[in-house]
Amino acid sequence: MNSFTDSRGAQERSLEQAKPLPPARNRLVEMCEEPDIAFNTPAAILDALRLEAARELFNERVEQIPIIAKLAADAEISEIKSFDDLVPLLLAHTVYKSYPQQFVDKGRWDAMLKWLQTLSVADLSGVDCTDVKDVDDWLSRLWAAGHSVLCTSGSSGKVSFLTHTMADRARKTRHLRWTQAWPFTKPSSNRPIFWFGPMVGRNSAVEMGVSNEENWGLPGQAHALDQQPLRIADVSRTAAMRTRIAKGLAPPSEIAEFEKEQANKAAAGKAEVDVLIDRMLDMRHQPLFIFGLWAQHFMVRERARVRGIPDGDFNSETVLFPAGGIKGLDLPEDYREKITAFYGNVIQIGTYGMTEMAQLMPRCEAKCYHAPPGLILLILDQTGERLLRPDEAVDGKLTGRIGFLDLLYEGRWGGLISGDMATLDLSEGCACGRAGPVLLDTIGRYALQGEEDHIGCAGTIDAYVRGGLPA
C-alpha cells in the first residue's frame, strides 16, 4: 500500500521547486503569509488586484480547459472586464462527477482519464492505466504521476474527482498554516494532533488532517483513525449498490447483507474512535490540536460525561477545530454551544470553505468570515445567473448564493458555484475592527428541489461514525 502521506517537509520542498504563479495572482496568494495585513486591506485595493489576477488566470485557462473555453464562448466573454464576467464561468460541483459511473464499474480507467483531462490543466496522458485494480489504484497512479486528485462523495454515493497539482497542495497547506488559526494564534509544531478521521485517503478532510499534522504537530504525535484507510472503492460500491437496487437487480438478502457490512464497519470504526477519544481525554491537560466533525466532538463530550470529566478541563493552549456538516445526525439544536462549553477556555478556530476551495476563509473574534486576498467571493442570485448588486442590499447586507474564483489553483479552474446561501455584510469595517466586507456566521444550504446534498467529505467520513446506506 502506498503511503498517501507526504514525508514531513515534502510539501515545502515541492513549493520551492514549483514555478511561481503569474505576478498578480502570486502577490495575492502570498499575502496569506502576513494575515494581519492580508485581512485588513481595504476591499477597493484588493479588488483591483483581484480583477487583474482573474484576467490573468482566465487568459491562461481559456486556452487550457475546453469547458472554460465553451462557457466563455457561450457567454461571449473574451476578457474579464468585471467580476460579473466571472459568473458564467463558474462550474457546478456536479461537473466534477459528470463521468459515467459505468467507467468506474467496468474499470475503463483510460476513459476516466480522458474525462478528467477535460477538467485539468496538466497533461494527464502520461498516467499509466495498465492493470489498474480499482479506483483507489487509479488514484494512486495519478498521484504517482504528480496529479493530486481529491475525492468527495455526496449522498448519492457518486464520487467527484478534483485534480490539482502538488504545488497547489503545498500552497493550500501554506495558506492553512498562516490563516487557519488567525486571528487567535499562530501555528507552531508543538502539539499532539488528534483527528477523528483517517490520515490515509484521498479526500479533503484527510488532506486537512495531513496539513494539520504538518502545520501543528509535535513529530510522532499524530493520533488519528488509521486502522481503516478511506477507500474510494467502498464509496463507489455504495453507488453501484444503489444502481442495482434501482434496477431491481439486488435481492433483499443482498441489500440486507450490504447494510450489515456497513453497520459492522461503522461499529468497528466506533470502537476505534472510542480508543482515540480515551487517549485524547487522558492527554487533555496538555496543549493539543483537536480536529473533528461536530458530531464527533459531541461523542467526546458524552464519553467525558461517562468518565466524570467536567466541562472546561482542557489546557487553554489547546486548539480546537470543529468542522463539517451535521446532516442526518441526531444532535441537539444547541450542539455548538454545548461543545464549546465542554472544551471551555481553549482556542477555538473556524473556517468557511469546501473541498473545491483552496483558500479557506478564517473566522474572526466577531464570528465573521474574512475572504483571503486570493479568493474572489461572489454573492449570486438564487439561480446563480448573476451577481447581486450593492443596491440590492438590505440593511447593508446581501444574501445570496455563494460562488467564488479561487486564484490559487494551477491544476484546474478554481471557479465554482456552491449550493450555500450566505449573507455578506458590505460594511467597510468588520465588528472585529478590520476591513470588510465579511460573511456572517449564518451560512446555510439552498434547499433545492430534488437536489441531493453535496459538501463532500462529511458523507464519507461519517461512515466511520455511523453505518448503513447513506440517506
Binding site: P100, A111, T118, Q382
Partner: protein, 466 residues
C-alpha cells in the same frame, strides 16, 4: 433573499363551493414572482359527512350536459374569464406563452360529450352504477347483490405543469359526482379556478358547481394539511407529481384515508433499426421522436428523455443528426426556440461534451434542444429539451433500462410494440405507444397504470335480498 421585487403581486382567487372569491390576504411566492390569495378558512374547505354532497343524487346525464355546456362556454368565453386566466397564466407559468395559449385553446375539447360518455362506459360500464345500485348477476352462492359506485370525497393535489391537467381532474371529479377540494399548484394558479367559474357561469348554483373548491396553500403546510387530510372529511388524496408532494402526503395516509398516487415518471422511446431502410422513414421517426422529446417543453411525465436506438454508433449519429434537426420545430405543445437551459443542465452537459467518442453532443444551450449520444444512459435527468440517445444492439436489450418509474415507451416502427410489450410491462412500464403520440392521452383508458374513475369511486355493496 433580499432581492428587490421586480414584479407586481398577482392576485390569485379561490373558488369555494362554486363561489369565486378574490382578495389578497395571504402572500406567497418567490421575490421575483409574488402572489396573494384570499384568507383560508378551513371550515369552508370541507363538506360535512353528516350530509350527502351536493351532486350525489344528480343524474349523470345532467352533469354531462353541464360539462358539455361548460366546454362550449369556454370556447366562446363571453365574460373573458378564459382570456384573463390565460393572461395571468402566461405571466406566471413556467411554460412559454405560445404553449399556454395552445393548451388553453384545447380546453373546450376536454369537455367533449363523446369522450366523457366513452370514459364512463369503459370504466364503469355506463351511468347505472353511478346513478344508483346496480344489481349484479346471481352469484355462485345463489345470492343476489347490488353495488353502487358511490360518490367520493377527494382532496386533489393537482399538477401544474400543463393547463390540461386541471381540466382532466375537474372532468373526472364531476363524473364521480363526489365532492372535491383542489389544491392549486403554484405553477398553475389560474386554470382550475377559471374552469370552475365557467361551470358556475353555465349552471349557477348547480350541484356540480357546489361540489368543487379550489384553493392555494403552501404544499406541505401542516397547519392546513394536518387539519384537512382526515378520513372524517375526505376518503382519498389524489396526488400528482413530485416526490415532495408524495412524501408529505405519506404522513396522512392511514385507515379511511387512501392515497391515489399519480406517481412522478420518466418516459422513453424505443427506435428500431428499420428506420434506416430509407431516408424518409428515418426523417419520419426523427420527427416523431422530436415531438415526444419536446412535448410540454419536456416538462411532462410523458416527455421522452432517453431514446434507445437499435443500431451501430454510426447509425445512431445519423439518427441524432436528424433528431436534432427536428427539435427546433413549432408544435402544439412546444415552441420552436424553447428556453435557454438552466445552469445545472448546462454544467452536466459540459461535463461530457468533450468526451468523444464516448459521448457526442449536438446542439447548444439556447433552448432549441440538445441531443447526447452515448452507449449507456447518462446519469443525470435530461430536462428542458435534452434527449439522450442510447445505442443498443437490439431493442430487447434496452428493456433493462425500463423500470418502475417508467411511464410511457414510444415505439417505432409500431409493429415492434407487440413483441416488446410484455417485457416492458414486466419491467414496470405503464403505457406503450406508437412513437410520436406520447401526449395523446385517451379518455377511458387506464391512466398512470389504473382506471382513474374506478379508483376514485367508493365501492359499496348491498348484499342479499333486494
Amino acid at each position: 433573499m433580499n432581492v428587490a421585487s421586480s414584479s407586481d403581486v398577482q392576485s390569485v382567487g379561490h373558488v369555494i363551493k362554486g363561489e369565486f372569491i378574490e382578495g389578497g390576504v395571504e402572500a406567497y411566492g418567490s421575490p421575483l414572482r409574488r402572489f396573494a390569495t384570499p384568507a383560508l378558512h378551513l371550515n369552508d374547505l370541507v363538506w360535512p359527512r353528516s350530509e350527502p354532497g351536493p351532486a350525489f343524487e344528480t343524474p349523470l346525464a345532467e352533469i354531462i350536459d353541464v360539462l358539455v355546456e361548460t366546454g362550449k362556454w369556454l370556447a366562446r368565453d363571453p365574460d373573458g374569464f378564459a382570456a384573463d386566466a390565460l393572461e395571468r397564466s402566461a405571466v406566471s407559468s413556467p411554460l412559454p406563452r405560445r404553449v399556454v395559449e395552445r393548451s388553453y385553446a384545447l380546453l373546450p375539447a376536454q369537455f367533449d360529450r363523446a369522450q366523457l360518455e366513452y370514459q364512463v362506459e369503459r370504466e364503469l360500464g355506463g351511468p347505472v352504477i353511478l346513478d344508483g345500485w346496480r344489481e349484479m348477476p346471481v352469484a355462485p352462492s345463489g345470492r343476489v347483490h347490488s353495488v353502487r359506485a358511490f360518490p367520493p370525497r377527494i382532496v386533489h393535489i393537482i399538477a401544474g405543469n400543463a393547463p390540461l391537467a386541471s381540466a382532466l381532474t375537474i372532468c373526472w371529479g364531476a363524473l364521480t359526482k363526489g365532492v372535491h377540494l383542489l389544491k392549486l399548484p403554484s405553477n398553475d394558479l389560474f386554470t382550475a379556478t377559471m374552469l370552475l367559474r365557467a361551470i358556475s357561469a353555465v349552471a349557477p348554483g348547480h350541484p356540480t358547481a357546489r361540489s368543487f373548491t379550489a384553493a392555494y396553500w403552501r404544499g406541505g403546510d401542516e397547519s392546513v394539511e394536518g387539519m384537512l387530510f382526515q378520513p372524517q372529511y375526505f376518503d382519498k388524496l389524489a396526488a400528482w407529481g413530485g416526490e415532495t408532494t408524495l412524501r408529505s402526503a405519506k404522513n396522512y395516509i392511514g385507515p379511511g384515508f387512501e392515497l391515489v398516487a399519480f406517481d412522478p415518471k420518466t418516459s422513453i422511446s424505443f427506435i428500431g433499426n428499420e428506420i434506416f431502410a430509407d431516408e424518409e422513414i428515418l426523417q419520419n421517426a426523427a420527427d416523431r421522436a422530436a415531438t415526444d422529446g419536446t412535448v410540454v417543453e419536456q416538462q411532462a411525465c410523458a416527455s421522452s428523455r432517453f431514446q434507445f436506438l437499435e443500431g451501430t454508433v454510426e447509425q445512431a449519429d445519423r439518427y441524432c443528426e436528424a433528431l436534432y434537426a427536428h427539435m427546433g420545430v413549432e408544435r402544439t405543445f412546444c415552441t420552436a426556440e424553447g428556453r435557454p437551459l438552466d445552469r445545472e443542465m448546462r454544467d452536466e452537459i459540459n461535463g461530457i461534451r468533450y468526451m468523444e467518442p464516448y459521448y457526442r453532443v449536438w446542439g447548444d444551450y439556447d433552448g432549441k434542444g440538445v441531443v447526447i449520444r452515448s452507449e449507456e444512459p447518462v446519469e443525470f435527468h435530461p430536462d428542458g429539451r435534452v434527449i439522450n440517445v442510447v445505442v443498443v444492439p437490439s431493442l430487447e436489450e434496452a428493456v433493462q433500462y425500463a423500470n418502475v418509474a417508467t411511464q410511457t415507451v414510444g415505439v417505432f416502427p409500431p409493429e415492434r410494440k407487440k413483441s416488446l410489450r410484455n417485457a416492458l410491462a414486466n419491467a414496470g412500464v405503464q403505457r406503450i405507444v406508437t412513437l410520436g403520440s406520447a401526449i395523446a392521452v385517451e379518455r377511458g383508458l387506464p391512466h398512470d397504470g389504473f382506471y382513474p374513475l374506478t379508483r376514485f369511486m367508493r365501492w359499496v355493496n348491498d348484499e342479499g335480498e333486494p
